[in-house]
Amino acid sequence: MGMSKTGRFSWYYFSSPQSFYPLAGVLQPWFAGLAVALCAVGLYISFFVAPTDATQGDAYRIIFIHVPAAWMSMFLYLVMGFWSGVGLVLNTRLSSMVATALAPTGALFTFIALWTGALWGKPTWGTWWVWDARLTSELILLFLYIGFMALQAAIDDQRRADKAGAVLALVGVINIPIIYFSVKWWSTLHQGASVSMTSAPTMAKTMLLGMLIMALGFWMYSIAATLARVRCVILERERHTDWVAAEIGGQS
């Protein structure tokens, strides 16, 4: 598997849905397992290792899902934009399918970030929602995901749906830096970035560790979910091919 006729490993081999389908099937349980393990460790740290925060009390424990979810929401959009772009330029069907498969999971994490943020806002800011820059732009991100899915759902022709979605995703990518830097540009209620590559982290080591592990867990989860969804998408779209017929129908 993964070898071309000449015996060398080839990326092109896996860019066909037919060969990617079984590969995804093999990888998917591994990522799922990793996700479960990492989340379990992360949860343990977040509830039993990390100390109570001096100013916020235990409300801050929302951070262990809020921040990883917010990260994933943006990261998945970037990945989606990337695969959309690849699909648009190289005209590879699989890339478009991956982009399609990423959207629901991305939207989900966006929703989680919003929800946990709102629940965190009530005890700390005294309100569920403010029209603050980061909150608003995260909401916009949710709309972008929904717009992507709605556009693809509204177009009957598969090829057109892929391409139109890709253009939209690429245009929407511009929103990501806006979300990320929004806190810098507007000075608002929401926390500025406290994890950065350049300066030393300002939060407690254990907190950071918990957050990073949870983020890794969410990451693995996203991969697993996306692989599972890609497999469905592949089957649906390739139903006219003989290999799917052989895979499902026993014979063609």
Partner: protein
């Protein structure tokens, strides 16, 4: 190329002139929305003044968004769009022509009208100036982004909402900075930063949107 752009522009403006209604449309809509608010909200001057930038900008945004429906759809229906794709000119150029004419017909009138309406809300002179500049920078961005949305949803089921759904998230930053700039002047802090950012958006949109739009049109016509 420039000649083709000129003809597209000329045609659209002529058409707009013939169907005068449609041009005035955006403008009348803008005026109506802005004038209805005092009727609905009540006549307190200070409250109206506070609302003014927001109301004006929201109205401009809606006026622009609504006129998007007529940007490509009529051309699509009567077969002119096909002919544009086959024109032998780069599609981006023709798209640029259409976007410019859209702005001239829906954006520019708003910019010119805004100070008058601002006066109605008792905005001070410097705020009026900034309002105009912010609209001048912002409405072309609305037209440019809107064109991409309109092209993507061309002939699609329920395209009316879809275009709103697709385009609005991208409009919001423009709205926030646009209304924010006027608010900033009113609040005494300078509006330069806001306007600079709007200018940045405009530059970005001018460079990217026509290409995205042309690509979307080709996709839509398949």
């Amino acid at each position: 190329m420039i000649r083709a752009l000129g003809w597209v522009l000329r045609r659209d403006l002529l058409l707009a002139f013939r169907r005068r209604g449609d041009v005035v449309n955006a403008l009348v809509f803008f005026v109506i929305v802005v004038s209805l608010f005092p009727l609905g909200v009540g006549p307190e001057a200070s409250q109206l003044r506070n609302m003014a930038p927001g109301v004006l900008w929201v109205a401009a945004l809606l006026a622009c968004m609504l006129s998007l429906a007529r940007l490509f759809a009529p051309d699509h229906q009567d077969g002119t769009l096909e002919q544009m794709l086959l024109a032998g000119e780069p599609l981006v150029v023709l798209v640029a022509g259409k976007v410019i004419s859209h702005w001239l017909m829906s954006g520019l009138p708003l910019v010119l009208m805004a100070p008058l309406l601002g006066l109605q809300f008792d905005l001070p002179a410097d705020a009026l100036g900034v309002l105009c500049v912010s609209l001048l920078l912002g409405t072309p961005v609305l037209s440019l982004i809107g064109a991409v949305g309109a092209a993507l949803t061309l002939g699609v089921r329920g395209s009316g909402v879809l275009v709103a759904l697709l385009v609005l998230p991208l409009y919001v930053p423009v709205l926030i900075f646009g209304a924010g700039s006027v608010g900033a002047v009113a609040a005494g802090t300078g509006a330069e930063a806001h306007l600079l950012l709007l200018g940045g958006f405009l530059a970005l949109a001018v460079v990217l949107a026509p290409w995205a739009c042309a690509a979307a049109l080709r996709i839509a016509m398949e």
